[in-house]
Symmetry: C2
Amino acid sequence: MASEDSCAELLVRLSDMGSVMKAVKRDLPFTGSRAGLTLLVALGRCGPLRMGELAEMFEIDQSVISRHVADLEERRLVERTPNPRDGRSWYVRLAPDGKRVTEELLTHVRHLLASTLDDWTDEEIIELSGLLARFRTSFDARRARVAHNPRTPHPAKGL
Amino acid sequence: MASEDSCAELLVRLSDMGSVMKAVKRDLPFTGSRAGLTLLVALGRCGPLRMGELAEMFEIDQSVISRHVADLEERRLVERTPNPRDGRSWYVRLAPDGKRVTEELLTHVRHLLASTLDDWTDEEIIELSGLLARFRTSFDARRARVAHNPRTPHPAKGL
DNA sequence: TATTGTTATACTCTATAACTATA
DNA sequence: TATAGTTATAGAGTATAACAATA
């Protein structure tokens, strides 16, 4: 069972990761918005996705996705194809330029990370990845519990 | 030595933590900006800090800190005292209300985390905290190396 | 002359609401 | 009527540059 002390410590460490990722993203050689970059990477990992799926994945509004995708499309980094099963929706996929850019970016970050972790063993890195993946699973499970059993006020949106 | 594969995996996991922290912050019972909240927590952890120190800590511009602190001061959550050793600078500290609010928030998040990790052992949590702390250390060390030995183009700011 | 902090301005990211077109 | 996506508008967060006061 998790103690308050160990949770407080973990909280600090997790917050710290925010600064780290921010620094990584800021120094990335990409002439476009950080949000667009994030979408490109997601499309590279997951393959074609609908607008709504992207919105759900990042928990941001569809309207925001709509504008970012429009921007990426204008810059020839993604392409849209109509969903043959539903005339309302679209699939977004990486265009050739987008694929190239995304691969370059990922290579860049992987090198950065490898250089950062040059005194770590592979086992240690895998250990950390595993714990983070498990943390994510636990977090999602808790959210599902709360959503199904809403004794807490509400999702409490604007607070 | 870190392999490309393990780094790629870790990269995905670290990005994931961004979404998690965003969800945590969004559901927090705080009637104010997320940025202000972050500053309050930092002041609670570190004690009185100068404006410039806050800017450096979060790697954002002094002008931004200036406006957030002005807002928090207006809402009686922080207080400013002149630095007796340097007439240009100010110390920012939690006001009584700010101290109360900060403690309530931290208690809330600790409970949230404890509920999330109810099937983790304390040792596992401490293990994860330790690896994250070490990651942060490695990351900072790499940045210092690059800064002192700038064979890469430059800090590459606007990119 | 350099540094601490402020103000003015503009850009990025996001949310809300009103809209369209399909289902 | 419900849903997928768009557009308009507003708010939060940040960076840049010009500035005041102090070192």
